[in-house]
Amino acid sequence: MTVRGAVPLGALSAACGVAAAVLLPVLTTNQALLSWAFLVLLYTALAQSWNLLGGFGGQVNLGHAAFFGLGALATRMLWLGGAPVILALAAGTGAATAAGIVIGAPSLRLRGPYFAIGTLAIAEILRITTGNVLPDVSSLPAGDLARYALAPRYYLAVFAAVTITSAAWWLARSRFGHGLAAVREDEAAAEAIGVGAFRHKLGAFALSSGFAGMTGGIFAYYHVSFYPAFVFSPVWTFDPLVIVYLGGVGTVWGPLAGAAFFVVLQEVLSLQVGEPHLLVFGLLFLVVVIAAPGGLVEALRALCRPGARRPAEVGSPPPA
């Protein structure tokens, strides 16, 4: 017999969290706090989008930056070209989803390490080509700059983080999510019970890349000036990967926990010791991969319920 009220409690705290996030700009005018919260939400969204395929689907995509970058580039061009930002963002998300399907179909057929390397190669091709075709920095026109406000960017980030986390929540419960977990565990065995491995991986890939594009679009709306090639930089793959593993790979709340930890630690470390915060993240990442594959979420669970068996939840187990 499961504890009644356990689910409403979870739903309640999720609702409270969303309400707090939505109210934050009303409650405070502290811009530093708001940009900090924006970054946590942006990283949550990006990390969760990687997690949909990498954590729930078990496919290590090292080319996530490709989709973040496509979404960012398309959104930025349309928006600066005069389109309403919502439309531009939708188009960016759509472009990244389409690219995900086009790129995912052949690359998901690759075996062994070649999926990871192939996706990395695609992202690098896009980065170098973008740098060559669009060498000039993209800056907001003076008029936009004068009208710039953080709040709309912030609300879009809330929207993305909530939407993508909901998608993960759905994956942890739905038929598709159960099928995807089976494929992650053992493709041949999944096929033998009727789960089309390729279709599931491609579906997860499309979701993952579409949401990465959405996050990229918000970044493009947020950032005042950047080089177009920058949105294809490998950091947009590597940061979410580190965040997901720190937080708890294949879990619904891991990306949020990891992103908050990542942003806070980054702030603290860069105040204290300067650049080398990456060293700390690299070492922590290694510790998690080797010794604590559940990440922060698992550690918190163990703290809250010492000795208790974890409830069954699809995707919660880390790929050992």
Binding site: D186, A190, A192, I193, G194, G196, P317
Partner: protein, 245 residues
């Protein structure tokens, strides 16, 4: 019973080579609805390969497979599972980091019984775990189960697809005598529900207890078929098992 209706599975002139090695060579046989067919033969004679071909994990080089009158030779494994072909693996393949319940639940959601509600699927999965004697291990991760438990879990998972034909690849290997008896009783029950079974098994006792008919393979070719009694009396079978052929 054999011959009373159109066969459920028809395998015709099936061949499969790995490099230069003919693992299955011009093999034909049928399985009727509700029948239990034993597939015998020495190590490396092509039994597991035959299962792989029927279940769709392997593509044949030549030959045809008809299931319930439909040619499924070119179908992927998942589609065959959806029309009622289920299997277990010789080297057990459960979903290691999922719980026992989740292992069975996902098969309830897919397979032949797919379109039911998640709540219904959960209830079915619990009932199946009960049926194979695994109800108490419902929330245990598959990686924490013993070999015997994993085997039962794999059978429950195959049953969860609502198969019309169940391919069992050495399902009692490594089990104790009491466990073998329990497994035989379980298979009888499955058969009583009208599910046809193809059984690969070296355990002669289990074969005699379960099979209506057996087919004997040697080096990928069919060398004998008939009732268990007839076949075990057949000199060629004994020779094949002793490797003197």
């Amino acid at each position: 019973m054999p011959g009373s209706a159109a066969p459920l599975l028809q395998v015709a002139a099936l061949s499969k080579a790995f490099g230069g090695l003919l693992a299955v060579d011009d093999l034909s046989f049928t399985i009727d609805p509700g029948e239990v067919l034993g597939l015998l033969g020495p190590n490396g004679s092509g039994k597991t390969t035959t299962f792989g071909l029927v279940a769709g994990a392997l593509r044949p080089d030549r030959g045809d497979i008809l299931f319930a009158g439909r040619p499924v030779t070119r179908w992927p494994a998942s589609r065959r599972a959806a029309v009622g072909i289920a299997r277990t693996f010789q080297l057990i393949r459960v979903f290691l980091s999922l719980t026992a319940l989740e292992n069975v639940l996902v098969a309830c959601l897919y397979g032949r019984g797919r379109a039911r509600s998640p709540a219904r699927a959960r209830a079915d999965a619990c009932a199946l775990l009960e049926q194979v004697g695994m109800a108490h291990k419902r929330d245990a991760r598959a990686r924490d189960l013993t070999l015997g438990e994993r085997r039962r879990l794999e059978i429950a998972r195959a049953l969860a697809t609502r198969p019309r034909l169940l391919l069992l690849d050495e399902p009692v290997a490594g089990l104790t005598a009491t466990e073998v008896d329990a497994a035989v009783a379980l298979f009888r029950g499955i058969r009583a529900e009208g599910v046809a079974i193809a059984l690969v098994e070296h355990n002669v006792r289990a074969v005699r207890a379960l099979c209506d008919r057996v087919v004997v393979l040697h080096a990928g070719r069919k060398i004998a078929q008939g009732t268990p009694e007839d076949v075990f009396a057949h000199a060629a079978v004994v020779a094949a098992y002793l490797g003197r052929r």
